[in-house]
């Protein structure tokens, strides 16, 4: 069952890579949060109840509800344009993501051991690489943040693979990242959108040699 959910997670990555609308991307973040919640519920069976509760609230409350809501509010409040203008076309992004997944699969084959299961490794690395792809290939800062959250989802998925043995590490990692994302992404997005009109990365060019 958890394997099925992880495959679904992989499919959302394809969808995000080709979607041209901002709100589709944000809704897919909600889907990813829900999937992570399901995976945590199904796979973290050996940890104690308090740790499990922490992980579940983190995935469900923060990743599926608060963060997407927060980003949507920033978008509507600051009138950020909702069309994505990527450097590459839909077809080539699809091709790139497929190649990245293939790469992750090969990497996973070499890295797997008793604790790191192949399916977790592959999907986690695909998610991390797709997040990086979004950051590199898209211009809008809001897309960079979505890319970062996808990357972070990949890290969380990877940590679930080890979750039964080291639950506290997982908790600490997720909690701090969520704290940072809410505190500073929120704070900065408001400042950035006040200062720059389009929130394009091209406008951040004052500091260069």
């Amino acid at each position: 069952m958890s394997n099925l959910l992880i495959i679904l997670f992989l499919i959302t990555l394809f969808y995000i890579a080709i979607s041209g609308r901002l709100f589709v991307c944000i809704n897919l973040l909600i889907v990813q949060g829900l999937i992570l919640f399901g995976v945590a519920f199904l796979s973290l069976t050996e940890i104690n109840i308090i740790n499990l509760l922490v992980v579940l609230t983190e995935t469900l409350l923060f990743k599926a509800i608060i963060l997407p809501y927060y980003i949507k509010r920033i978008v509507t409040k600051n009138k950020i344009k909702r069309q994505v203008s990527p450097f590459m076309s839909g077809f080539s992004s699809l091709l790139t993501v497929s190649l990245l997944i293939l790469l992750s699969f090969i990497l996973g084959m070499y890295l797997k051991n008793d604790q790191l299961k192949l399916i977790y490794l592959t999907v986690a690395f695909s998610s991390i690489l797709t997040g990086l792809l979004l950051i590199v290939s898209r211009k809008e800062i809001i897309q960079h943040i979505i890319g970062y959250i996808i990357l972070e989802n990949g890290v969380v998925l990877l940590s679930f693979s080890l979750g039964n043995e080291t639950p506290m590490a997982v908790n600490a990692g997720i909690l701090l990242d969520i704290l940072i994302s809410i505190l500073l992404f929120g704070l900065f997005m408001n400042r950035l959108s006040k200062t720059y009109k389009d929130l394009d990365i091209d406008q951040l060019n004052k500091l260069a040699d």
């Binding site: 070499y110 890295l111 051991n113 008793d114 604790q115 790191l116 800062i141 970062y148 043995e165 590490a169």
Partner: protein
Amino acid sequence: MELIVYIIAVFGLAAFVYFVRNKKAHYIAAILFCCVQLTLNYLIIVDRNVFLEYFFKSDALSIIFISILTITGITTIINSFVYFENRKDNYFRRGIYLASLFVLFACMTGVFLSDNINILWILAEATTLCISLLIYHDRNEEALEATWKYFFVSTIGLSFSFIGILLLNAATNVTGFSSLTFSSLMAEEILITNQFLFQISFLLIIIGFSVKMEAFPLHTVCIDAISVAPGPVSAIISSSLMNVGFVSMFRFYQIFANTSLYPWMNHVLLIIGVLSLLIATVYMLKVDNYKRLIAYSSIEHMGLVTLGVAVGGFAFYAVILHLIIHSFTKASILYQTSQFVRIFKTKNIEGTGGYFEMSPLGGVIMIFLFLIIMGIPPSGLFFTKLMIFQSLIASGYLWLVIIILLLLVFILWSFGKSIFHILFLKIPESIKENKVKINNWEHVPQLFLLLIALYIGINPPDFLSTLINEAIQYLPK
């Protein structure tokens, strides 16, 4: 117990400066914070096991770097007040600045002391948060851009480190939160079952911490941060925060140093070191902003340090000594730049000149700092560089030493050209009418750091040598 008192004291003082917004309160809080930090420093030197129950352990490495942090921390706080007074910043901004500075010092102290890998990572991430607030102090467009870039890249980099730590967790097969500590990993022999897994893990950790270390892959954001941040904050980024990156890297290095991974790891560090030096040289030749120039000089020194770690042998000793002297000197230089910004009202080298005429004492200090940072005798960095080169030649890298010496000549030329431009050229017309007066008392912290750096360089005290030798005792000779 002591640790809890320390944490409560730091956060209490941070809250105090944030909520009570007047001059007197800020001065009192700053003095109290210095006392707290000095007490902690005293405690960890006297009793090595004072914090053992909370996964914090004081060893030689942490004693050295926390002492540097305490000394530069106090001078930074003094310089911050000078900075505030001259710019007439409002008390709200001062409050945020001081509060994040206090918490930043506490986090950095924690990183140096931390024995648990996860706690080290969390505290390193927390330093990003505090330093972002400090870089954003000026609240203009440039500050926003630099803060955003630093924060974003730093978080992504540290996410990489976290992946690396997770993989290390899986690779060493330890279970439980409390057992993934540096001392336990060093005590037992690590079985390299899957070499590729260890390699990927080490690579990710190094890439992540390079953002703090100011070395090759993710160094760019530090340059932006140093160039925009207030002078005292730049000094902290370029001294203690750099040491945070180095200590984190060095502790992971120590874990793997006695395994079959050792030669491969040294090759990675060698490449990082050479590329850092190369990038520093190329950019120092074309840069026209003196703060950026000094930032690139930090990358040059980190490149040398990484090279030293890569070749090993007696270069390990040189590396630690190099970092100690570099921290004091670089901090001092960056405090001086905050005076330059105030006098010349520009960060561009073209708009400067005649500093020596305006402030002879500051000019003399700057010349000495220049000699030390470039490694010209009587500078201690001359001897450490010599030791690193000797090690390189002993390991058969003579060709590399020749290339590096060439690069260093270029660096000396471009750094010297700019510093002498600032010191000795004619005073620019634009500032001739309303010259800014520099009070000679402002030079005292810089002079103090300069004297320490000179003394350590010429005659490293015995206790320091013992500490350095203790810090590197587990590494292969």
